[in-house]
């Protein structure tokens, strides 16, 4: 219980968001970009896979890009930040027919990247395995699951394996709810500030198991119940909150019944919700969500 004053002097007032690492263990420096940077001689100088990757050329991330990035953050920023919001996609794309992804490879890479975050940001002087120098809040990306994009409500093999992989990041009392919704929250400043990590795949158009958020059987419907109860409890306790997840909750990505309902929650809990952080689209931008418009959209949807 860290509710005393001892932690206060160490709050820096900064945090970091990082997303979409997509490390590719098959990445080969000097290979041809045209073959997903996996093999072959480059056709010319512009087709050569560089050690740290080539912008805009379509290959996944070289593992060295991930290792050096985390090292750089550790050396230059770790002492200046309070927590890291890490919004998923830790596995290569399924873009090479000669090397299709397997479920085991996906688990292994998720574990590898998770271990790297633990190793880099854990408080190694503490006996508590959940004690971090910089707290880390992960969320699930559409490339972190098998088959690609497809993810059903838990408990399933995948939700249990993900808990095992992320167990040092997830408060232990949330194990059961995590098993069901792959969502959780962390009090980054206990009793004051929390980060919700919610599983956006349960609302994602690209997930073949998701149709809408209006039917009780839909995973998005179930997760909205979890979000609602959690927000109300955080409000009761006077805790402010940032939301985080992989797929941005905008109409382009979500079924409208899901994006509209979520917009309603953002609107009606705007006294505690500060905003939301997402990845997936690889583009630095912001999208204002209009809560009043969402109420109108609900009416129009009928």
């Amino acid at each position: 219980d860290l509710r005393g004053n001892s932690h206060r002097g160490s709050i820096k007032g900064r945090f970091l968001q990082i997303t979409d690492l997509h490390p590719d263990l098959y990445y080969k420096e000097g290979s041809s970009i045209e073959t997903a940077c996996h093999r072959g001689e480059p056709n010319d100088k512009g087709d050569r896979a560089a050690r740290f990757g080539n912008a805009m050329m379509g290959c996944d991330g070289p593992p060295d890009l991930m290792y050096y990035t985390l090292d750089w953050i550790q050396e230059n920023l770790a002492n200046e930040i309070d927590f890291i919001i890490w919004t998923g996609d830790n596995v290569r794309h399924d873009n090479d027919r000669k090397i299709p992804r397997t479920e085991q490879q996906i688990f292994d890479m998720n574990r590898h990247v998770s271990d790297l975050f633990v190793k880099t940001f854990k408080d190694h002087d503490s006996e508590d395995p959940r004690q971090f120098k910089v707290k880390v809040i992960p969320s699930l990306g559409n490339n972190d699951v098998f088959p690609h994009n497809m993810f059903s409500p838990g408990p399933t093999l995948q939700t249990r394996e993900l808990y095992n992989i992320w167990n040092q990041f997830i408060p232990p009392e949330q194990q059961n709810t995590f098993d069901r919704y792959t969502s959780f929250f962390v009090e980054v400043i206990p009793g004051k500030l929390a980060i919700i990590s919610f599983n956006t795949l349960y609302m994602f158009k690209g997930n073949p198991l998701v149709d809408n958020c209006t039917n009780k059987k839909q995973p998005g419907y179930k997760m909205l119940l979890w979000i609602g109860y959690t927000l109300q409890e955080l409000r009761n306790r006077g805790i402010k909150v940032w939301l985080s997840g992989h797929v941005p909750p905008i109409p382009k990505n979500f079924d409208s019944s899901c994006s509209d309902k979520l917009a309603l929650w953002l609107h009606e809990y705007s006294d505690i919700i500060i905003g939301g952080f997402y990845g997936h689209m690889n583009l630095d931008h912001f999208v204002p969500i209009d809560g009043e418009q969402a109420w109108e959209d609900v009416a129009n949807a009928i």
């Binding site: 890009l65 200046e80 690209g206 583009l283 931008h285």
Partner: protein, 276 residues
């Protein structure tokens, strides 16, 4: 297939095929991203610009809006990048720790599981009927609200309709002060610093260092670095803070000023020089 199953149209299949292609294409070279950003500008920023003056009078903190922040990636779709946010902790240093008499979290989660199970397993209400009833009541409420608004009276949503469907939130209680997203206070976001790795320069430096006789690891250690790409208070569109009202103003400015939009696009693509 279309002829056998008449409920599916050719358009449905085509739409599914396009969606599947887009999903597969996510791992490939970026395409049509300027087009996407222009759509964001038209659909969101320009719409705000049209009504910003009217809104600022009735809703000075723009509490009807919430902000979705979408980040650039480490995978070099463009250049790798990430962001450090700065937030207000002034009062945290002086405030005494509040004494809460809350139930333990494990008890809360146990109750939460039970309550959600009860809702999901409620067999008294047919699922389809339940859906339509809650939506019908939502519509009814909104129609009443609109009717009142047209008469010049301030509309108020019905207090009861949402009780039938817990995936709709209760209306925010009256009198709550604006949250940290809207007015500068404890935990309000104040500023951000966007970092990026200039891959072209890094790879060039790396190869040169190898040529100069450095080992691979020495060359990588020297060449690889992140640098500040921009900050939220940097020109040409410095933001005072990064509250919702600052973003709303920025959205409006971006929709009206093509030069600012060019800079915004350059930053959206992490200074990679991307064009469609």
């Amino acid at each position: 297939a279309t002829s056998e199953f008449s409920e599916f149209s050719e358009q449905d299949f085509l739409a599914d095929a396009i969606a599947a292609r887009q999903i597969r294409a996510q791992g490939a070279k970026p395409v049509n991203k300027v087009n996407y950003m222009n759509n964001v500008r038209d659909s969101y920023y320009s719409e705000i610009s049209k009504k910003i003056k009217k809104l600022s009078k009735s809703d000075p903190f723009f509490e009807r809006f919430s902000m979705v922040h979408v980040s650039t990636s480490i995978i070099p779709t463009f250049n790798p990048g990430f962001r450090v946010w700065e937030y207000n902790i002034t009062d945290l240093q002086t405030q005494e720790a509040a004494v809460h008499q809350n139930q333990p979290w494990d008890l809360f989660f146990q109750n939460l599981d039970d309550e959600i199970d009860q809702i999901l397993n409620d067999s008294e209400v047919d699922e389809d009927e339940d859906d339509s009833r809650s939506l019908f009541e939502a519509l009814d409420s909104l129609l009443k609200k609109n009717k009142k608004n047209k008469k010049g009276k301030k509309g108020k949503k019905s207090k009861d309709w949402w009780k039938t469907d817990k995936t709709f939130p209760k209306i925010k209680p009256d009198g709550l002060p604006p949250g940290p997203a809207y007015e500068n206070q404890l935990f309000s976001p104040l500023r951000f610093v966007q970092y990026y790795a200039d891959l072209k320069q890094i790879n060039k430096d790396y190869l040169k260092l190898l040529k100069d006789g450095k080992s691979k690891e020495e060359a990588a250690s020297i060449a690889f670095k992140y640098q500040v790409e921009y900050t939220s208070d940097a020109e040409p569109y410095p933001m005072e803070n990064v509250l919702v009202k600052d973003y709303i103003k920025l959205a409006s400015d971006l929709s009206e000023n093509d030069k600012l939009w060019e800079v915004f696009l350059e930053r959206a693509f992490c200074s990679s020089g991307y064009k469609d």
